[in-house]
Symmetry: C2
């Protein structure tokens, strides 16, 4: 029979699988010679035995851990179950992989009526003893016996009300004794400490199978049969008097990253009190003054731990009667800025290498260098929560239309644009707004995509809002009314909508940040491009380090005010000649726009997607606008209405768009290709190196590609022959429909590149409209039907399977195809990892996410 | 070296692969001892040699076929290239698989100036000789040399205009000689007959690679490297005088199927003339009178051929100078009714067995027994063509709303309902209309699905129509105006819209039809269920032989006038209590409706789908209706407007529908399950055998199924315990999203059945909205981007691959799951074959398509 129980000096951090993460760590500290309260670990394999036997404890287990306990008693110089000199335990679960949803800690295990009395005597602190006891009862009843904690809370509230007590601190030893009596009338728990321990160990085992834990394992592909270990550790107390106390400390400053020891100490207090914030702790320097020797021991310990673990550590310690104990060490949480500073500093200090440094940073941490962030320490009046669609924080005055936003911005005030949803017609308002808030739409809705592209903070799908444009008021589900021009703050990183102006941290780059990006460039395999249409976006993309444009949505160029009427005229044209007139105008704009992109992107590829949206998106819908347009185009409003009716669609996302437009209206494609070719020739003649890639969207089969490629080749050749200058260009396809992925072997022979449009692919694979998903996705997340919004992180079960199939089938058919991604997932770190593993050549994302993607790509490289 | 040239007596019908279909057939007839004009076949492997050599003829080929030609000359007693006694050839392509798009026939090959003159002399018919020659020039120039036939047409028209000739028959020998001169000025073709033959053979080879032929092979998975054979056959002439002639005949009547020899004969005429209809042929009995011996030979031949080929034959023959020649025999085309009569008769006659008989019938032929059909022999004034959405023919007066249809029908007149699209609110009008015509919508749009379910003729997606409801007029693209109450005829089997009343054949069953269905039931493996909601539909389904209900769309039950307001009240309810009030009412209706289905479907399973459409579909959109509803519900119109706004969606097909409703509104599911359980208990108590199956729609993952199954189980248990009667029910899922199919292994453990909803699966796999696809699918079909509408026949590359993956993955995980299909593809013969091959357990389709599906299923069984 394998050994089931390990003392803390019998294991090390390499034993995670057997002893769990927590157990292995306690062993590691013990073997480093640190003063850890002694204890033992029941192994994960014992847990598996327990399940295999049908939830029955192995016969010898109690005997085995009793041997270990004896050694703990000796070392701690006290006895489990001895009222004179009681040894108490904390009992915790500890799986090999950190896993929320499992058992909470039980403290003070081993108490009963007699021992509480003994402890009161021994410590000469009855209040402490009975408070500890009642806490134990509540924890044990709740965690082991499954009694709802609310019942205990209710009894306590009742007692307080009857005795005029307001806070726990007003409760005396006698009060707690009364509470213990009432608690005991509610629940019968074992008085025998050995029974308690056995019950607690079983409860930890069983907590492996709570629905929440099962769900978590399912989502993270953690094997079901791994099991959890149980850590049983002697209690020490920081509330034994003035030479006792508890504290927490960080080996470096977790907010700034500064390499200076940092912490807090609370004299005569238990660890829980420091966390609960009952009293205000003193800075760690107070310990230096009170107990210089203890401080020195702590200081040496933190030095040792940081260099041992080669990362900033978050420590918990307790001083009992002048004796220093280490309770826990773990990698410390830190702000984005701190994480980068610490990682770069540690490389300089020779503690870690560049690859380690890259893995130490959460790619999202980069955001604090690029956007102002809502200060997490501020008090916030949160009135609604939506989807965190575009990161950063913003404060401004509420406006309800793009035009209003322009007016408010022009008057020098910040505006927050609040809409049910946004459309391309709102772009001018979105550009000047500090932040955007919409009732509808998911993480890849128009508002979300455009805001991310502009680096503007946005919250979408905030379904608890009811907008009344006419009266200029937003009502939240719980009745708050926000009037036009009220000041609100958005946190686009969390989705929180707050009243008033909440302070924000400034965005600013740093040398450390730039250093880290240099390292990322050094190690990553995936190229990172940006999605951009305007010269400004393209410049921002270059500034952020983009290696080309992965998606230029040509339609965005037509929505600008000086050209939208030409587009509309083309759509509404009644004859070939009228149509050609407008196409000629559009050609001119398109060519200039693309030339500008070539200028910015010198030597980097520019991927230009052919017109994608359904044509009705370009037409006005509003009566006044229709009449205005009719007058300008010299048509009757009735004609425009008829066209609108003819073009309208029930499900535009699955409608007459993408390459379907090129098949039915080849003249538009022809114009676009001529504009691209002309721009490339102009660029070449001006000494630049244009690298256009022409992308055919929404393909379902190879015949579409062949048909359109013929149009492209003919149009390009015409311009090339006309001007007598040749330019290279590539033709490829956007992989957006499941059918394209499932038939990629057929497409392979007709494309030079395939760029996965993961937004549409996710829409179609899930049957989730990006515009409507906010209606149910919050409930899906809450009810744990899905763990993450599939528009945020690529689904690994279906969408990535389609991409994998497409790459395998097409590369088996034809070698040398370039594979990219241009959906919003291209900037999501989790997805970037998947794309790396799938063997893609590049990802493309919003300019502001380029650094995020680069770091994620580097992490994928160095860790795979 | 393999033999490259086969004489007609050297092969048989088993040599299709080497000699092509046409060649093998000519050999077969020759070896039967029939008087076939002699000739030879150049093999398909020679064609492959030609391609392998880079389109170069094998060195010895000419020598080889010259040997064969010599034998042909001997047998035909004439010489190729001899002006005195010329042998002429027809040259045709003949691939192993019948394939449109390849080379047409060249007749009279071997003519030149000198031979034309010789022929004129020999036949004493210069007009015949020069007409034959000019035809040959045109065919050769067009087919071999690629000169557009239009140029010749233009020259001929010019000549006729200049000389006052109106028809070809007015042209004299001299005229044709003039034409020959002008043709020769246009094109220089080889005068040497041997050169001609070589050129023709090469042209046949090359025609294997025309774009149309490549496209066809691609669509039908015909190997690219198969190649084509070339048939070179001596010409015989039926226009040599009164003892000559040509005819076509059928071994049985192709219209009625009657077992009587049937045909037409044209004395002193070439085969082309019979086909071209220049003169009216006489019935075949005329031949008996004129040339009793020839007739007797023909009669014996047809007897022989029918019993040899064991199928009704379509013959072409020529009599030259009293000598009978067989030119071709092939399986004869026949009407649906004839095909069934012939098949059943032939089994009775012992010619074929039951399995053969099943394979002889096109499943679509069944339609003529179920619906009146537009008589194909009538003259039709076709003004528009849409999608053939529901078969049959109908004539009626044009109306533009459901209410109008009801009025017209009430007055005893037939109505054709013309709408842009239909919605559930139009059902009452659709029920009374003779036919339905819509501007929008594809083959699975609301109009199409409902019409097929009712067996009403319908045409959808007729995009060339412009409707003006207000003025009550439809305008076609070419300017026809159809006014309200005008009489039009629809052919739902072809999609043609015609002016006036076109006569139709009556629908009526027959003993033969019933016999065939009995055989189908005997041999098929796939079960066939029907999609039905009402007792009437269910009864029709049973009458058609359905073995259960495969899809009951519960929402249809809520659209009826007496219950829609309860549904609306439930949706608009402002509190839990109000909502429950309406749910209680709906429970009552739902229960009665389902009980009625159990009554009809005794002992057969009834698959009931939980509520599927987005809730906004139930609300009125019209101002007057909203106000009416507001009054009835005692709410303000503003409230209803607000709800409408809140519920509205951009892409409802990908929105808040299907099981998403059950997750967010469990109370609706609860009500539905209680109604199903109560109905089942009532049915059981009444001595019936209810077999309910509860189907969860639009699933994306197993957690949805688990969550909803818990709701189902709880609700069912409540009713079962309450009433103290237990009833069985199954729970399963509709497989409609690509994600469900790609994650089927996970779903497997939580379902008892999976029913593939191929409409939605096709929508999402293609990104084709069924409501909008008519905007571009006609152009896709015309430009050969797709060969068939994927909503009609299941796509074998993607959708069936998803189904295959789902079945493989789920059955590997869990045994015993039942697999079905309930999309519209369930009634499509081509798709049924795929479903059989995929190993499904059943298909479900509209009641009227049940017999079609049964025959298709039987065909799949007996041929696999």
């Amino acid at each position: 029979m394998a050994k089931r129980v390990y003392l803390f000096n019998e294991g090390s951090r390499d034993d995670r699988e057997l002893l769990g993460g927590k157990g292995a760590n306690l062993c590691e500290m013990t073997s480093l010679g640190l003063p850890v309260p002694y204890g033992f670990v029941v192994t994960t394999s014992t847990c598996r035995e327990y399940f295999q036997a049908g939830n029955v404890m192995p016969a010898n287990l109690v005997a085995e851990y009793n041997v270990a306990m004896n050694l703990v008693e000796n070392r701690m110089d006290s006895r489990f179950g001895d009222p004179e000199n009681p040894l108490l335990f904390s009992v915790r679960s500890g799986a090999p992989v950190s896993m929320p949803g499992m058992m909470d800690t039980i403290l003070n295990l081993g108490m009963n009526d007699e021992i509480a009395e003994g402890l009161a005597k021994k410590t000469n602190n009855p209040r402490f003893a009975y408070d500890s006891y009642r806490r134990f009862i509540q924890m044990y009843a709740n965690v082991v016996m499954g009694v709802d904690g609310e019942h205990f809370g209710a009894l306590l509230d009742e007692y307080k009300a009857a005795h005029g007590k307001k806070t726990d601190t007003e409760m005396t030893a006698t009060d707690w004794q009364a509470i213990i009596i009432s608690y005991k009338s509610l629940v019968t728990f074992p008085q025998d400490p050995h029974e308690q321990l056995k019950g607690a160990i079983e409860a930890v085992f069983r907590s492996w199978n709570t629905p929440r834990a099962i769900f978590y394992r399912e989502m993270h592909n953690i094997p079901e049969n791994m099991g959890t270990a149980v850590c049983v550790q002697a209690m020490v107390f920081g509330n034994f008097g003035e030479t006792s106390g508890s504290g927490v400390a960080f080996t470096r400053n977790p907010s700034t990253g500064e390499a200076a020891f940092f912490g807090e100490f609370l004299a005569n207090a238990a660890g829980e009190d420091v966390v609960a914030g009952v009293r205000t702790p003193e800075p760690i320097s107070a310990l230096e003054e009170r107990m210089p020797e203890v401080y020195s021991e702590l200081y040496q310990t933190q030095k040792l731990l940081e260099s041992h673990y080669r990362d900033m550590q978050d420590l918990e310690f307790t001083v009992q009667d002048g004796k220093f104990y280490m309770l826990q060490t773990r990698h410390g949480k830190r702000t984005g800025r701190a994480s980068i500073k610490i990682a770069v500093d540690m490389v300089r200090e020779g503690l870690i290498d560049e690859k380690d440094a890259l893995l130490r940073v959460a790619p999202e941490h980069v955001e604090s260098f690029l956007h102002p962030m809502v200060d997490p320490t501020q008090k916030k009046n949160i009135v609604a929560t939506g989807l965190p669609a575009s990161p950063g924080g913003a404060t401004g005055h509420v406006v309800f239309s793009a035009d209003e936003a322009v007016d408010v911005a022009a008057s020098g005030k910040p505006a927050i644009l609040v809409r049910r949803e946004t459309t391309p017609e709102d772009i001018h308002g979105m550009k000047v707004a500090e932040g955007i808030l919409t009732e509808l739409g998911g993480m890849t809705s128009h508002a979300a995509v455009v805001a991310r592209g502009m680096g503007v903070c946005a919250i979408t799908g905030c379904g608890s809002l009811t907008l009344n444009y006419k009266e200029g008021v937003v009502t939240t589900d719980d009745g708050h009314q926000i009037q036009r021009m009220d000041l609100i703050t958005l946190d686009g990183s969390t989705g929180e909508v707050m009243l008033g102006d909440i302070p924000k941290t400034e965005a600013s780059s740093s040398d450390d940040f730039m250093t880290l990006l240099t390292w990322a460039d050094k190690y990553r395999r995936l190229k990172v491009r940006a999605n951009a249409e305007t010269p400004e976006d393209a410049s921002k993309a270059r500034e952020m380090g983009a290696e080309g444009i992965g998606l230029c949505r040509t339609e965005h160029m037509f929505f600008q005010e000086d050209r939208i009427d030409f587009m509309r005229g083309m759509i509404l044209a009644s004859g070939r000649k009228e149509k050609q007139h407008f196409l000629d105008q559009l050609f001119h704009f398109q060519k200039e726009d693309i030339l500008a992109l070539f200028e910015v992107m010198q030597g980097f590829p520019v991927n230009i997607r052919l017109l994608d949206p359904p044509l009705h998106e370009f037409l006005p819908h509003d009566r006044a606008e229709i009449e205005g347009l009719a007058a300008r185009l010299k048509k009757s409003p009735a004609e425009i209405h008829e066209s609108l009716q003819h073009l309208s669609e029930v499900n535009p996302m699955l409608g007459f768009r993408g390459c379907r437009l090129s098949i039915v209206h080849p003249e538009i494609t022809e114009m676009q290709v001529k504009a691209i070719t002309s721009a490339a020739i102009d660029a070449k003649l001006a000494g630049m190196k244009p690298l256009p890639e022409i992308m055919i969207p929404l393909v379902i089969n190879v015949r579409e590609i062949r048909y359109i490629t013929k149009i492209i080749e003919t149009a390009a050749l015409e311009i090339i022959q006309d001007r007598g200058v040749s330019v290279p260009y590539k033709v490829g396809t956007m992989m957006e429909t499941p059918r394209a992925c499932l038939g990629a072997d057929r497409l392979a022979s007709s494309v030079e590149f395939m760029s996965f449009g993961t937004n549409d692919l996710t829409q179609m694979t899930y049957g989730f409209s990006r515009d409507d998903v906010a209606k149910f996705i919050p409930e899906y997340l809450e009810k744990k039907i899905v763990e993450t919004d599939p528009f945020v992180s690529l689904d690994q079960r279906s969408v990535s399977r389609l991409i994998k199939t497409a790459i395998e089938d097409s590369s088996a058919a034809v070698k040398g195809i370039k594979y990219g991604v241009c959906g919003e997932h291209g900037g999501d770190p989790v997805s970037v990892r998947i794309f790396h593993d799938l063997g893609l050549d590049y990802v493309s994302c919003s300019p502001y996410r380029v650094p995020v993607a680069k770091i994620a790509a580097a992490q994928a490289s160095v860790s795979s």
